[in-house]
């Protein structure tokens, strides 16, 4: 019996590894989503000089759990007169597409070697030749979730919100795709791994080799267009509560609304990953490659953070906090110490550590923009997308192509 299963497993090893990776990634993405909501509420609250959730667990850390339980137990009414098939399809489609786009992102350069198989960090194999084009294809299909949700709700505010939101998404999709063309011209491939490797062309330049310096215009267009594409502030008019009574997801109650919510945060994570990979060097360290002492940077971050969490935890007001927080702090500090002592693990963790830090910085910028900027009016939004961002991204493509051509003919020939 056991030998039958082990034979089956080794014959379909690739499939089994992929299935395990998918389950693991789903779990990680859902947990990160939940804590991203906590992070957003805390940061926006502190920007607005108040506390945010701080009762439900130590520092409000169990608030996402409470929210999840609330979503599960709330009543889930289906309004009368809706088109049943499309009404149930819309949140499912949105969530599926958002999760699928995370599968295409590579999280680290080096595979783990386990049982004679190379396990890459990231579900899609690293030689997907149309990496970023496939990501844009999935984003393009994401318009349907919003449109169908707005239409099927049998509610004129939902219809208006859905049509506005999908028109916004289509307009900014153009600017988003054009602004990446500069990066693609420089890297010469759609493959995300090759784009990062093109930024490591001069390993001694460190941070100055990243794509952000030559492509500053492209980065601006891409970041703004991506925020509009994910319907986040300051482009969230179609779903703002005070405007169109929550727009296209008005008629969606507990669990289906949670699906839209999770899809929105997951696409935020995907956009942050894309910004880091395309413009900020992905898993490359900002320090030059010859400064090998900077390989201790992850430990140098984790150990003090862990110690601070322990120090904050032992003085916390509730007993639960006084147990959990020092425990978490010890785990974090222990992880940092482990990387300092285990050389092989330290080398392995360099790539994912830098990528995750950059993703975290972008998520913070997203939340910061939500807390500080006022909303665009709809006509301002559309004219901004068509009259400013699209021409700017085309200008970026033209300038980039001229510079590459000049490098190939004049400067290179000298």
């Amino acid at each position: 019996m056991i030998s039958f299963f082990s034979n089956l497993l080794s014959a379909n090893a690739e499939l089994a590894i992929t299935v395990v990776k998918i389950v693991l990634l789903l779990f990680i993405v859902l947990t990160v989503n939940a804590y991203l909501t906590w992070f957003e509420r805390k940061v926006v609250a502190h920007i607005q000089s108040r506390w945010g959730p701080h009762r439900v667990g130590p520092h409000g850390l169990l608030q996402p759990l409470a929210d999840g339980v609330k979503f599960l137990f709330k009543e889930d009414p289906t309004p009368a007169g809706v088109d049943k098939f499309v009404y149930y399809l819309a949140p499912l489609l949105t969530l599926t597409l958002a999760m699928t786009s995370i599968a295409l992102i590579p999280f680290g350069p080096n595979p783990i070697r386990l049982f004679n198989h190379d396990i890459y960090l990231g579900i899609a194999p690293p030689d997907v030749n149309i990496g970023i084009l496939a990501l844009f294809a999935i984003t393009a299909l994401g318009v349907y979730g919003v449109t169908l949700a707005g239409w099927s709700s049998n509610n004129k505010y939902s219809l208006l919100g859905g049509l506005r939101s999908s028109a916004q998404m289509i307009s900014y999709e153009l600017a988003m795709t054009m602004s990446v063309v500069g990066v693609l011209l420089m890297a010469g491939s759609f493959n995300l791994k090759k784009i990062i490797e093109a930024q490591a062309h001069h390993p001694e330049w460190g941070i100055f080799g990243w794509n952000i310096w030559p492509q500053i215009l492209g980065f601006f267009c891409f970041f703004v267009a991506a925020i509009a594409e994910t319907n986040r502030a300051p482009f969230d008019l179609p779903e703002a509560e005070s405007e169109l009574t929550a727009g296209f997801h008005t008629e969606y109650a507990s669990f289906k609304f949670a699906m839209f919510f999770i899809a929105e945060y997951t696409s935020m994570i995907t956009v942050s990953c894309l910004c880091s990979i395309l413009f900020f060097g992905g898993w490359l360290s900002p320090f030059p490659a010859s400064w090998t002492f900077t390989h201790y940077f992850p430990s140098a971050v984790l150990i003090p953070f862990g110690l601070w969490v322990i120090w904050d935890g032992v003085r916390y007001e509730t007993l639960f906090g006084r147990i959990i927080l020092p425990g978490a702090g010890t785990a974090i500090a222990g992880l940092g110490a482990l990387f300092m002592l285990w050389h092989g693990g330290n080398e392995f963790i360099q790539g994912p550590f830098w990528l995750l830090s950059k993703i975290f910085v972008f998520l913070f910028v997203y939340v910061w923009m939500r807390g500080t900027l006022p909303r665009f009016r709809y006509d301002q939004l559309m004219s901004y997308g068509w009259k400013l961002l699209l021409p700017l991204s085309i200008v970026n493509v033209i300038i980039t192509s001229f510079v590459i051509l000049a490098k190939m003919t004049w400067w290179g020939a000298k």
Binding site: D83, F85, V86, L89, N129, I130, L133, A134, F136, A137, A140, L141, V143, Y144, T147, L148, W151, L159, L163, S166, I170, E173, T177, F190
Partner: protein
């Protein structure tokens, strides 16, 4: 039953079921959704054929732009369930017969003549994207520029046609 053959049959079944659903659905929005299923299935078939760039372009342009246009128009015009009159019911049976005859004739002819055309070995000297862009900008540059002009004309035409009347 190799894996590519199984994938082909699954995608082909998805495409044919989508096309039949396009015919059998009463509401145009459900027909539009069936057509999107057909397009995604065809994109999968292009991937199976090794045409990855065309598959991505199919999903982005056809599935993500043209069909969104269709869905918008159906929503804005408030297209309802369609009615069938006696004329269309009369045209149904002979139409089906003729179409089956046409498709069967084409399929039989092709099947007889392409038995000798085996799929060429995968000579992937150039990746699909690089090869296509090479041809697009060298041999097919004139049609390429003409199609961009065509799109400009289409955009102007659509704007003029969909304007409100100035009265």
């Amino acid at each position: 039953m190799t894996a590519p053959l199984v994938v082909f049959f699954v995608l082909a079944a998805m495409a044919v079921i989508g096309a039949i659903s396009l015919i059998l659905q009463k509401h145009p929005i459900h027909s539009a959704l069936s057509l999107i299923v057909v397009m995604v299935a065809l994109a999968g078939l292009y991937l199976l054929l090794g045409a990855e760039f065309v598959a991505a372009v199919q999903i982005i342009v056809y599935g993500g732009a043209i069909m969104v246009l269709f869905v918008f128009v159906i929503m804005l015009l408030n297209a309802g369930v369609e009615e069938h009159t006696s004329i269309s019911k009369m045209a149904g049976a002979p139409g089906l017969l003729l179409v089956v005859a046409l498709a069967g004739f084409v399929a039989a002819t092709i099947a007889k003549s392409t038995e000798s055309v085996q799929a060429a070995p995968q000579t992937a000297e150039m990746a699909s994207t690089m090869g296509i862009s090479n041809m697009l900008f060298k041999e097919f540059v004139y049609p390429f520029e003409l199609t961009s002009f065509l799109i400009l004309v289409a955009v102007l035409g659509a704007i003029v046609l969909a304007q409100r009347e100035k009265s």
